[in-house]
Amino acid sequence: MQPDDLTQAIAPRLGSRCLGVEPFPGTAGRVRFDRSAALDLFRIVHDDLGFHHLAMVGGIDWVRHREVFYVLWSDPAKQYVLLSTEVPAEDPHVESATPVWPSANWHERETWELVGITFDHHPDLRRLLTPDGYAFHPLLRSFKIHEPEDLEVKSRDV
């Protein structure tokens, strides 16, 4: 599968909400999409293109905006595909992928916890790696290295 195939399969159904498909080394391509099209795109990629395995969900803090990306694997095609969307830093939320890939659950919990991107309609958006009540999203660039004593105070009510 090539980027052109992805464009033919996705662009007519998403319209302007598909922001482009570009080649990406080692994958079938990288699909950039508007976050309002998230669930539609997930269904197309999962049901029509056969990418049944969600390998990874991640987030990147680009300071002015944040990026959410999904890495998917198709067993019949033996190929990866990347989906990527940008969310504004002041309103970082995107639709959850758990209705399509249940394995997105913990990936999205981790992404929310570390990069602070909220996943709407997520069944169980709790912290995964840090204790409940932890006050930070530590992989944000605005996160400063705290003195250990600060962290201790913040986490004491756990």
């Binding site: 790696l129 840090t130 204790p131 932890y134 930070f136 530590p138 996160f143 290295i145 705290h146 003195e147 250990p148 962290l151 201790e152 986490s155 756990v158």
Partner: protein, 201 residues
């Protein structure tokens, strides 16, 4: 038999043969029980114990016995956190054989009296560590093994790491190293035994 005749306890009975049923003097000093024959030991020990309890009270006699038993059977909790747990495991293997010091890992905190924190403690696991510590029966001791447990190690400023397990539980012995070798762990355990021996009730 040679050592018997050479001691003061033996000189009280210079002719005591091996099969003699003679009971030694009741005034045999308690410290000399090591040189008594087996048949002489029980009455002598009984007499010495009775007189000591009568003179000093029960607790003064029993506490050193418990102290001696406790420090020679330190049972650590079998709880591995990070790479120090590999060295912890090696210390109980054939080469270092920590069991010769009476140190035997137990799988339940209720059977342990030593908590060896072997690895990086994160805030996520912190309250579980406190729970395990509180489940251990008194008297109990804690060894912070390795740099991470001692002071956070290389992750001291990380967002998720407790900078030293002494922020959570009282620590008796710190072992430096990243990770410390099994010899260092054994040294720490022997040091803890020394601390227990010197402990004042």
């Amino acid at each position: 038999m040679g050592h018997l005749t050479a001691t003061p306890a033996g000189t009280a009975h210079p002719a005591a043969p091996a099969g003699a049923s003679a009971v030694p003097d009741a005034a045999v000093p308690f410290l000399e029980i090591e040189v008594l024959r087996a048949k002489q030991f029980i009455p002598a020990a009984k007499e010495a114990l009775t007189s000591m309890i009568a003179e000093q009270g029960q607790s003064k006699l029993i506490r050193p016995v418990f102290n001696w038993a406790g420090r020679n059977s330190l049972f650590p909790l079998h709880w591995g956190l990070a790479c120090c747990a590999i060295e912890f495991a090696a210390a109980f293997g054939a080469r270092w054989d920590a069991e010769r010091f009476g140190v035997l890992p137990r799988s339940s905190p209720r059977q342990s009296d030593l908590l060896i924190v072997n690895g990086t403690v994160t805030w996520k696991v912190a309250h579980k560590l406190i729970t395990l510590y509180e489940q251990m029966p008194e008297p109990k001791w804690v060894i912070a093994m390795g740099n991470c447990a001692t002071g956070g190690g290389p992750f001291r400023t990380a967002y998720s790491v407790v900078p030293g397990v002494d922020k959570l539980v009282p620590v008796d012995v710190y072992i430096a190293g990243c990770p410390p070798r099994p010899e260092a762990l054994l040294d720490g355990i022997l040091h803890l035994e020394q601390l227990i021996r010197e402990r004042k009730e």
